[in-house]
């Protein structure tokens, strides 16, 4: 008996929500109670409704949604905005109960929830419902007005669910950092078999939503808080477990668009890998990204150029000054350029957007300029996780991605990126400034290049109206020379070498 019980405990129903099934390791406990807690506007109702909708759509399990706070028809209308076909679902197996407490109701003596449970029991039988959502159970409980009663009635619902082997989802408001509320409904997390906390907070004036599984009886679960967004198609949970880097056979090499750079990395970069391009402001990162994209277009591959905080048209215009013309590719539709404002959303929302862009356009090469913009809002940790997942998403799809990152800081010698993505980058190209004799010249070097030999030399990066090029290494006296200094030295050396050459020619003539 106890063995059978344990087996039953491990049965889960998939929520059908990306990432959520990862953090719960399979979904909600079947025939048990799950509690979704969070402050106002956290997305409890949407999440609960989405689980119900997915259950009815994907698993064919009818469900009932009991709305205690919001008008049921409004909840249903909200579902429509996420593209869920509520009208059809309501005919097939989704039932809404409008249980808003009327304001004029007078309380005069003892009562209980027998009517609700009797009604739900009849409806459950009629529909064959398996899942019931009690949205804003705290509103119902506050009607009872007595903590003893609240506890008793909640247990009554809980027992009723268990008796009928129904999966229950309760949502309840919990204020962060407010022990009074937490204590008041403190018994709820104890009662529930699975408790999930949703929260939202402001990070740099942008709302960042997070979700965390507090407990899960009889099952392991992710312990950490993970970000989530409420996007155009509902809740998407950004579980780091959601995206795994799959081993890819990297054999084909593709051009970066700059011949000499290809030579430096051993004949081009491997298709499906990623390239990190770092440099300080004005170093020419966007130019190199544009060149990479243009090369992809010339190979007749679809390409996507995502820029943060810079207008696509401005970028195209800047690229045109060094002879990179993206206009025909934009016109043919093979290239898509998308500008995103970094401050407008959290890094998780950026991730979802970029992922959607990739899914829509289906590119083989992607440039993200700069990836470090992700870290502008919401801090490094979340942004780093997003950057990692973004890279893995591209890798798993066999997309070659070049992302730039701004190097800022007092000590450029440290060469670390704001996101610390350099460790997951397959190749890392650095553009630095060489300050010599009153000139600022661009110097390109390769810090790493996985799976291939690469040049260790520092090369001068040159931009002119015919394109981007790398000069031959020119060393003198143990130093790499660039710019005017190089020109001077070259002229001087030419003059010096001419003399012995003349001498040699004279000697030759004499011998004749």
């Amino acid at each position: 008996m106890s063995d059978r019980k344990r087996e039953a405990a491990l049965k889960k129903i998939a929520s059908g929500i990306e990432g959520f099934d990862d953090i719960t390791m399979g979904g909600l406990p079947e025939g048990r109670t799950t509690l979704l807690m969070g402050g106002p506007g956290c997305g409890k109702t949407v999440l609960a409704l989405q689980i119900l909708v997915n259950g009815a759509t994907n698993l064919g399990t009818p469900g009932i949604f009991v709305a205690f706070e919001e008008n049921a028809s409004r909840v249903s209308a909200n579902g429509e905005t996420f593209g869920w076909n509520m009208r059809e679902l309501e005919q097939k197996g989704l039932f809404f109960v409008d249980a808003c407490i009327r304001p004029g109701v007078v309380r005069a003596g003892a009562f209980d929830l027998t009517a609700l449970l009797a009604g739900l029991e009849a409806k459950t039988k009629a529909l064959g419902a398996k899942t019931i959502v009690f949205d804003a159970i705290d509103v119902l409980l506050s009607l009872l007005g007595d903590s003893m009663l609240e506890c008793r009635e909640l247990y009554r619902i809980h027992e009723w669910l268990a008796r009928h082997e129904l999966t229950g989802i309760f949502t309840t408001k919990v204020e962060d950092n407010e022990p009074a509320t937490a204590q008041r409904y403190g018994f709820m997390p104890f009662m529930a078999d699975c408790a999930v906390l949703l929260s939202q907070r402001l990070a740099d004036r942008v709302t960042v939503r997070t979700i965390r599984v507090l407990k899960y009886r009889g099952s392991p679960h992710a312990l950490n808080e993970v970000p989530f967004v409420i996007g155009a198609a509902g809740v998407e949970v950004g579980s780091s477990n959601g995206v795994h880097p799959e081993p890819q056979p990297f054999t084909e090499r593709i051009s970066t668009g700059i011949e000499r750079l290809d030579e430096m990395v051993g004949g081009g970069i491997y298709r499906g890998t990623n390239v990190l391009l770092t440099g300080s402001s004005g170093a020419g990162k966007s130019m190199l990204a544009g060149q990479f994209i243009e090369a992809a277009c010339r190979r007749r591959e679809r390409a996507l150029f995502i820029s943060f905080d810079e207008n696509s048209r401005d970028i195209a215009r800047d690229l045109a000054t060094v002879g990179i013309d993206l206009a025909p590719h934009l016109a043919s539709g093979s290239l898509r350029m998308e500008a995103i404002r970094s401050e407008a959303a959290s890094s998780e929302e950026h991730f979802m957007r970029v992922k959607r862009l990739i899914a829509e356009h289906g590119p083989r090469c992607v440039a993200i300029d700069p990836l470090s913009a992700l870290a502008r809002v919401g801090g490094g940790l979340a942004a780093r996780a997003v950057a990692e997942r973004l890279i893995y998403v591209c890798r798993n799809a066999g997309i070659t991605v070049l992302f730039t990152s701004l190097l800022e800081g007092l000590d450029p010698q440290l060469e670390t990126t704001t996101l610390h993505v350099s460790t997951i980058a397959d190749s890392w190209i650095q553009i630095s400034y060489a300050l010599l004799d009153g000139e600022r010249n661009r110097a390109l070097s390769i810090i790493k290049s996985r799976g291939s030999k690469h040049s260790t030399q520092l090369r001068e990066l040159l931009f002119d109206d015919t394109g981007i090029s790398l000069a031959d290494p020119y060393t003198a006296g143990g130093e790499v020379l660039m710019g005017t200094l190089r020109m001077e030295r070259e002229t001087a050396v030419r003059a010096e070498t001419r003399r012995p050459l003349l001498v040699a020619a004279e000697e030759e003539e004499q011998s004749k």
Binding site: V97, R102, V105, V106, A108, A115, A122
Partner: protein, 105 residues
């Protein structure tokens, strides 16, 4: 299934109540007794009480948005008024019905 309990001749201006209860539940039994007592005392011969057992008509209760038992709905005279509980707090019931409370009678 509903049960009409005429207590006195329902005339114009009669009080009509609908009581939703769970048959056999102690608070429901009390509510019925309390409602009878109030009606007899305040509107003798001009009231009607309709009793609905939510255990027998669960879908009706759900459709009529009745979630707790016992619930009394004053149908007439308008406006409709909902009172929940076993009606043991008579003063609250009377004030909800717009009647003077016991001390003043």
């Amino acid at each position: 299934m509903s049960e009409h309990v005429p207590a006195g001749g329902p005339a114009n201006g009669a009080y009509v109540f609908r009581l939703y209860l769970a048959a056999g539940a102690p608070n429901s039994v009390r509510a019925l007794a309390n409602l009878y007592a109030i009606c007899h005392k305040h509107f003798p011969k001009c009231h009607r009480i309709e009793v609905i057992d939510v255990l027998k008509e669960p879908l009706r209760a759900l459709a009529e948005a009745i979630f707790v038992t016992p619930t009394v709905v004053k149908i007439s005279p308008a406006p409709e008024q909902q009172i929940i509980g076993d009606l043991s707090e008579e003063d609250k019931v009377l004030s909800a019905l717009g009647l003077p409370q016991n001390d003043n009678v």
